[in-house]
């Protein structure tokens, strides 16, 4: 019977093309406006690592004391750790896996690659990350070839590197880069692994600059980066000016390292929190902290909320988009009422010929669903236009942000858009349909 209703729906819509087109436009505009905003909101609020979001934690230690917190920071602890604290946590090795890390930037010199494979003579700058080898397994980084460096490489600060697929393809086109050498800042590094495309969104493991920053092109052992005095390309915050030189930086209370630990369950998290509290207490007893100990441990979701990955502005815009959809649907309701009023006689005949209220309801709702589907398709087109406009508007002011990721209309979003269009139109169609099914057939037939 549903096939019959759908065929009737298509016939019914063709009956008054102008009214049908208006309804589709009303739904399409509302869907376009709301989905443009929702696409961005969805990208921002996506769970970047759903199967481990409650196992990965960021520890925070109150290294600067309450006097350092004021204004917008309010009661929040520092998001990063000092080198000393990060190394203490690494040495303690209390999690199943852990890594300290920081963002770096280096010049890639293609001529440093194996002879005859370089494609361009000009060096170019690439962003990277210095981390421990646990980084790759903790964050489920997928490899195209090779793999992460080993623990021994971490200890000895070996000259090894993992490349993104993009950088590998650029420097070593058409060949597997694993085993080859690449020149970074004038030094040769042996490529041990090449990644598959990987761009978790938001960029949750380092939110210090932007949650939507472009992904790194290479990864180096942390100890080697420290040995080479590779400067941080991320946020560096100091309460007091550090002593000059690299050693001064390492020995200071400046916070510039991200730290993540993998804890398999609630008990492990509880133990780790106790360990952190104990560490802070020791620091106070040693005379480093002159305030009440304070430590925190946040999982991925908590960390993203605390860092306001989804800005208030985006939330407000999404609500405005939903408001536009509501206004458009109210207009669609009016149009549907007009359309069904013009069909009252037909519906009355159907009732007289044995159609129950349920039959009429399903017929009208099928017609509404077809309007919703067509409105959804139009809404998809308008969403794509809206996202392209967003990209064009933001491009000049957001050079380091991965706009493509934020404004991508992926398969999931296409499905959501069509589902929202059909569902919201069906909701809007409930009242007109109820009115249509309430018509007494006798009155329609007498009037006829």
């Amino acid at each position: 019977m549903m096939g019959y209703y759908i065929r009737l729906a298509i016939r019914g819509l063709r009956r008054n093309v102008a009214l049908t087109a208006l309804m589709i436009v009303a739904v399409g505009v509302g869907i376009g406006a709301s989905m443009t905003m929702l696409t961005t909101l969805r990208a921002m609020s996506a769970d970047p690592i759903p199967d481990k979001d409650s196992k990965l934690f960021v520890p925070q230690i109150d290294t600067w004391g309450p006097d350092s917190r004021h204004g917008e920071q309010d009661d929040r602890l520092q998001d990063q750790l000092s080198y000393g604290d990060a190394m203490a946590l690494m040495r303690a090795h209390r999690g199943a896996r852990q890594t300290a890390m920081y963002a770096v930037s280096m010049d890639v010199s293609p001529e440093g690659a194996a002879a005859g494979t370089a494609t361009s003579a000009k060096p170019f700058q690439a962003s990277g990350r210095a981390a421990y080898n646990d980084f790759f397994s903790m964050f489920e980084v997928p490899f195209r070839s090779g793999g992460p460096w080993g623990a021994v490489d971490d200890e000895h600060g070996a000259n090894v590197v993992v490349l993104s697929g993009r950088l590998a393809d650029r420097v070593f086109p058409g060949t597997d880069a694993v085993g080859k050498t690449i020149s970074l800042d004038g030094r040769d590094y042996r490529v041990v692994g090449v990644l598959k495309p990987w761009s978790p969104l938001p960029h949750y493991y380092d939110l210090t600059q932007s949650a939507f920053t472009a992904m790194e092109d290479f990864y180096l052992p942390f100890a080697m980066a420290i040995d080479r005095h590779l400067e941080s390309y991320g946020n560096n915050n100091c309460r007091a000016a550090p002593s000059p030189g690299w050693e001064g930086r390492l020995n200071s209370d400046c916070v510039w390292l991200q730290f993540w630990v993998e804890l398999p369950g609630a008990a492990a998290a509880r133990d780790y929190r106790a360990f952190l509290a104990n560490y802070a207490a020791q620091q106070r007893l040693s005379g480093r902290f002159h305030w009440t100990d304070r430590v925190e441990l946040h999982d991925v979701r908590e960390w993203m909320v605390q860092n306001k990955v989804v800005s208030d502005e985006v939330k407000v815009n999404t609500m405005i988009g939903a408001g536009v959809l509501a206004v458009c649907l109210i207009n669609a309701i009016g149009l549907m009422l007009a359309k069904l009023a013009s069909r009252a006689a037909d519906l009355g005949i159907r009732r007289a010929l044995g159609g129950s209220r349920r039959d009429i309801f399903l017929q009208c709702m099928s017609e509404t669903a077809v309007v919703g589907l067509l409105g959804g398709v139009l809404g998809l087109v308008l969403t794509a236009v809206g996202l392209a406009a967003n990209r064009a508007l933001l491009a000049p002011v957001a050079k380091h942000i991965s706009l493509d990721s934020l404004t991508r209309l992926d398969t999931g979003m296409v499905g959501i858009t069509l589902a929202v269009a059909i569902f919201s139109t069906l909701c809007a169609g409930l009242y007109p349909t109820w009115r249509a099914t309430s018509v007494q057939p006798a009155w329609q037939l007498k009037a006829g």
Partner: protein, 237 residues
């Protein structure tokens, strides 16, 4: 087949109650062809819509094919209407979007009959009214008489126990009206029970029996006849 006993229909507003039918009793036996006549506003169409389960009544009893219809819900009434009643309306009431075949198909769809059974019934009905060749035409492409024959085919397709016709020739010229009337008479000869509302005395005279409604009540024509020396009637109207 159709039995109404002391039936009433009242339309109520905040200030006034209007009786469309009052103490209305009628009994139509199986295979009868009854003409219901009366002046405009007498309640003929109200009687027909109640008889066709399109409208509920206020008081009294109504039995259709031996079953009391009082208190049936919308689904039950729709099913009963679909299975037992065929409608023929003055203004044909065909659905303009659907061709002849699909118009006749409508009541069969609601009966959830399988496709092959529906096609067989539709073809037989259209053949019966002589419109097989017009199955793919749309109502707007047909004359008034042809449209009414489509409506009759639609009513027949479901093999109803009762045919209710509301001024079936009211919108037709005399030639077309004659054709439609002949068709109804044929159906009656084949055993159909027909209740036809009309204000045309000529048509009423061609029915087996005439029931006259005035001010929402059945006028006992036999009683009027008795006044001039006819024998006592049997019980029932």
């Amino acid at each position: 087949m159709l039995k109404m006993i002391h039936l009433s229909k009242v339309y109520r507003t905040e200030v006034v109650e209007t009786y469309a039918l009052r103490d209305f009793s009628i009994h139509v036996k199986e295979g009868e062809f009854v003409a219901v006549t009366g002046p405009s506003g007498s309640g003929k169409t109200t009687f027909l819509t109640i008889a066709g389960l399109l409208e509920e009544f206020t008081g009294g009893q109504y039995q259709l094919d031996g079953a009391d219809v009082h208190g049936l819900n919308d689904n039950q009434r729709s099913r009963l209407r679909n299975q037992k009643i065929g409608f023929i309306f003055q203004s044909f009431n065909l659905i303009p979007d659907l061709n002849v075949f699909d118009n006749v198909d409508v009541p069969l769809r609601y009966r959830r009959l399988p496709g092959a059974e529906r096609r067989k019934r539709i073809n037989e009905s259209l053949e019966r009214v002589g419109l097989s060749a017009r199955a793919k035409h749309y109502p707007a492409e047909l004359s008034g008489g042809q449209q009414q024959r489509v409506a009759i085919a639609r009513a027949l397709a479901g093999s109803p126990r009762l045919l209710l016709a509301d001024e079936p020739t009211g919108n037709l010229d005399s030639q077309m009206a004659r054709g439609v009337m002949q068709l109804l008479e044929e159906l009656h000869r084949d055993g159909a029970t027909i209740v036809m509302v009309t204000h045309d005395p000529e048509l009423a005279a061609r029915a087996q029996r005439e029931v006259r409604i005035v001010d929402g009540q059945v006028i006992d024509l036999a009683a009027q006849t008795r006044l001039v020396g006819e024998p006592q009637p049997r019980p029932g109207v």
